[in-house]
Subunit: 373 residues, 4 copies
């Protein structure tokens, strides 16, 4: 990033979002059919480089199975309604219908219900019975408490996800010892994906904990207001490019460990998927695009775990509407021209149109910063 | 373009659209009457440097003739309604009246009808009988199949136009051999215009195929959503300037072949025509400005061939309304002050006001990047 | 201006508008009462550095007198309704009431009426009888024809004003010899103000014709669409700064001739007046701010001479509404906080707040480019 | 700030607002509970680094006491309604209900009432009786007249606040001697906070007068139109960074005097508080966020002292609505996700999330310039 002077006492780099950049075709083109978009992390191979974000509006046990069968990976939020209530269906229906002024207090109240271990087990078992790779997410604060239950229940990929997750968390004296990520990951039998992070240094330290993948981003999603509330944000294109540089340097430093970079948030339309990869991502974690599915739990509405905080909510429930099934959104065919359907077809075509045949090569495609938007 | 760092792992140049730039007058002025705006490509001379884009809302055989008689060149889309149906008139009327939600599925269905060779012949013959230069367009995928028919039918200028056309297309093993542009153009008896392209390298390789002209751009037009769907775009001012540099370098490399640079898309108001030329274009290909003609086939609505894709539509039907006849839009007089009428009069006056007397000289006029919009 | 590369084939400088810049206070402040805002051009001294633009919505003989008595200078357009009709009052009323769709054709028709020499004489005489400095404007194309009449009628300051006026105008062979500005100004007995221009070179050449002042700008006014129609524009802050540099260099080259730089257009709110002077202007020519006067001829509507062109209108009639009398707009007191009233009071306070006591010094005040708007 | 050329005759630095910057997390995180946000100026210690601006819509004697008890500091405007009227309550109610067109004239009339010394004494006594630190503000023009009354009444912190306050004010010959800030502050028994200022030089000179703190900013607040009316502004992020550099240099020059930098204006949402501190502020002075309190005197409306100027009003009464009590706005819990509640909780969390434990350290947190907004 180019560094400028904000004032005599402060310097800053300039950072760019996915909407600031465009992909530039090269002198070569391909047929979309010869393009591969498969992605592999640890022992798990996926036909498409798309993860569904652990948000109650996006991933239920049923949609986790459906997305897995379509070639992607649905990540269940283990601190959401599915582990607090026996039957979240009526609550999801109620949230979708709430008038705007009632949303935040109602979410705060619904998510105040305690998390139940037996529901964690049941939900993971349900996904496992669906025959797909099982991934589930906890926040750093609750990871120590529930991790063993989660592993015992048979999770394949363990996701630790918070607004910001660091390799070095400081707690007050006398408080319970905070999660030591490095020890935790070392002792765990399953691969761990951890984030968000958004800078070279933060990512490098997360990589050193032994994580198989890092989530890039915070505060950029359609339903988040982290920037307004906390002032914290790193525009996604720059965040990915910084973290991808950490991946490269850590690959060298570790003598060959390739830590996957997963863009989490700010990927709103199909064109953002190739842009994220062009900036250096290996895969993308989607929220709002999948919340538009007719079979998504949010019924056309969307919110994240930040929205339910009891003291400082940092997200809202947004109304997106629906455009088609999860399958149509991921694999097409598309019946609209606005980038909400056939995300994988769009990725294939973007790669074909610019002459690339696999995701790793496509990270090198030229981009421009577009001032004309 | 100025290169900046998006993040540690990615660099990019900054790119500008026509709306980002302004033309700066010099110390000299002229009368508009002494300004020449004629343009010549291969053996064909045109009074005005304006091509009508091969879009069904803009070019029918009748409007191709009308535009030719006004001094320009209408390019017929040979994969549109005119080569799929005996009488597209009722379909055009229907498309113009479609409610927004029905547009994409209806276009997908209407354009699923097969292309008929005898209609290709008939449409070209009809334009030829109008006594004007005949130009018609195919996509790269269909060029091999229909090219001989087109040439035999008597086309003067052959246009190969796709979202991105490259000199080197890779197809899957076992698939039919892709179009080898260089061989194809070499064997063809008529001059070929080919595109879109948007970068120096891509344009240079297209020029080396023997094309008489290249189309600059993709995804910038009023009816396209390529940027949203694929993430691909190069803002037009920068794209033209890059391709114009390729023209200059190829002129040297080839010992004197001047390949014409035609800006295709993003030219929405009369002021964009001189801007495109100021950035280095020899001529402009217009869509939406001509779709506003009372005699245009689209009846005040406008869509491109990208909008009809069966799996991944990348354009919409936009409603523009009408402002006057094709003649009034091209040659005036204007009855509005919004840049929608008398495009050629505006070009003449822009050149006169800045002291230039022909298009080639005018490519050197000073421009500024305007931060005040 | 900082030069950047638009693409390989084109470079450009970055240009800034008045809205892009802010004035920065220094370490000193003053009382507004000790600030002088007087301005002198040739033998004529004005209490306030404000000219009213030669537009029919702003300057009638009556308002020219009123503005003169308030310390400014009203410039009458000699090609407007006042020199085409005995009594423009009913036409002005009609224009103010026109529905939007009828404006351009009606203006084209009303201004097609011929200009009458006896009305030129009568209007100038009327202003002269008001006891104020008399200034009147012609376009370059009509200057030769009517100049003697204007001078004989007793004008004090002669204004030649067009979209772009150059020192070197080229006409077709066989056409009447174009106006040679240098000869014309040399032979004229009264000082000449000429423009618009917007670049260092163009301004320097205009200064060399012997003009007492140059008008900076074109296409920036509230009622103009020159940028949309012709693609021509230079943002005002950069234009003023460039022309002010020409003033300084010409002062040296000529051994002491100080040519006044008058910002014409883009000065919409009171805060734009000190900004224009901060960028290097000696005075400002106002349109829309004065058209908001209850006693302005436009009755709360506003249009320029560009709007009436028979072939290529480049402006519209805009509806501004009224805020107070011309006196209140210029000298206050203000009853609104939006920068539409007490323009001179605002200028005084801006100078006082930043510690400056006269206009010439104030041209040195620090400005910043403001990215936060 | 990066310097660019506006035109040949003028250079400028680029300046950034709080909305242009984002805070970037580091590789470390903390619990919000271990974060300290206390602030101390002179002998006065505050639990939270928040001052309430001396605006009648924000600070009454009652709210000054309430804010003081919550750990902040309410500054009473001694030139507002509370020192002109025995009972401002009905006037505040009336202002809140005024239709837009009547606001400015009514404010001008209400604030034309004379200031009464006995009311100054009474208001200060009332706050003092509340058991909190007492702070009150005068403009530079009235400081000499009322200062002794204010000090005698028992103010703890004396605030001199104007659009721009300089260390060197020039008055007309024959006028009363202007306030000599340095002498005044030297002789005063209480610490003085003075501003606004917005540049390194201006701030450095104010620091040399002996002030305990300087206010950064003018024209940036929600209810101000200084930029539109006067053309004067410095975007807040750059202003703070410049003044923070002056603090550092003055600390060295003075052999250890630390002058507090207080951002005044442009802090509209909770995320702006950590941003202001990240740019170098020690504390923030809030207007509109506190005017949204149900117990604020403005009843959901908001205006500043600039809005009441008799000749040149430079602010408006804006309607903000209410979101909760002053306590909820400052300390939470929040019931909205838009950054209007729990400002201190948001500051704590922003610091915790980026790994900082006190305000002084947090001034070093990395920020980026965000082009993606």
């Amino acid at each position: 990033m180019t560094e400028i002077e904000i004032g005599r006492g402060k310097r800053a780099r300039t950072a760019y979002g996915l909407d600031d950049v465009d992909i530039v075709p090269t002198r070569r083109t391909r047929d979309p059919e010869v393009v591969s978009v498969h992605w592999q992390i640890d022992a798990y191979r996926f036909d498409i480089p798309i993860l569904a974000a652990p948000m109650d509006s996006v991933v239920s046990p049923a949609t986790a199975i459906a997305i897995g069968r379509l070639g992607g990976l649905g990540v269940l939020n283990l601190e959401g309604l599915w582990t607090r209530y026996d039957d979240p269906a009526p609550l999801l229906a109620r949230i979708a219908e709430l008038p705007p002024g009632d949303v935040t207090p109602t979410l705060q109240q619904l998510y105040a219900e305690p998390i139940r271990e037996e529901l964690i087990k049941a939900r993971i078992a349900e996904i496992r019975d669906g025959g797909v790779t099982v991934a589930a997410a906890l926040s750093p604060a609750r990871t120590a408490q529930f991790a063993q239950t989660v592993v015992d229940a048979g999770v394949d990929l363990f996701v630790i996800r918070g607004t910001t997750v660091s390799a070095q968390h400081v707690s007050p004296a006398g408080a319970p010892e905070p999660l030591n990520l490095k020890d935790f990951i070392y002792q765990l039998d399953v691969p761990v994906v951890v984030g968000g992070c958004a800078s070279y240094q933060a990512a490098l330290h997360l990589m050193r904990t032994g994580a198989a993948g890092v989530l890039v981003g915070f505060g950029g999603g359609a339903a988040h207001t982290t920037r307004d509330v906390l002032g914290i944000r790193v525009p996604m294109a720059s965040a990915i490019a910084d973290v991808a540089a950490a991946r490269r340097d850590y690959l060298d430093e570790s003598g060959g460990r390739y830590v996957h970079v997963i863009a989490d948030g700010s990927v709103g339309r199909s064109g953002d998927v190739p842009k994220a990869i062009a900036c250096g991502a290996d895969a993308v974690m989607l929220g709002s695009p999948l919340a538009r599915a007719t079979d998504a739990p949010g019924r056309g509405t969307h919110w994240g775990i930040e929205a339910v905080h009891s003291e400082l909510p940092r997200g809202d429930r947004v109304v997106l509407g629906t455009v088609g099934t999860t399958e149509q959104i991921l694999l097409g065919p598309s019946r609209t021209a606005d980038g909400t359907m056939n995300l994988v077809g769009a990725l294939r075509r973007a790669m074909a149109t610019t002459g690339y045949s696999d995701l790793k090569e496509f990270q090198r495609v030229e981009v421009v910063v577009d001032t004309s938007r």
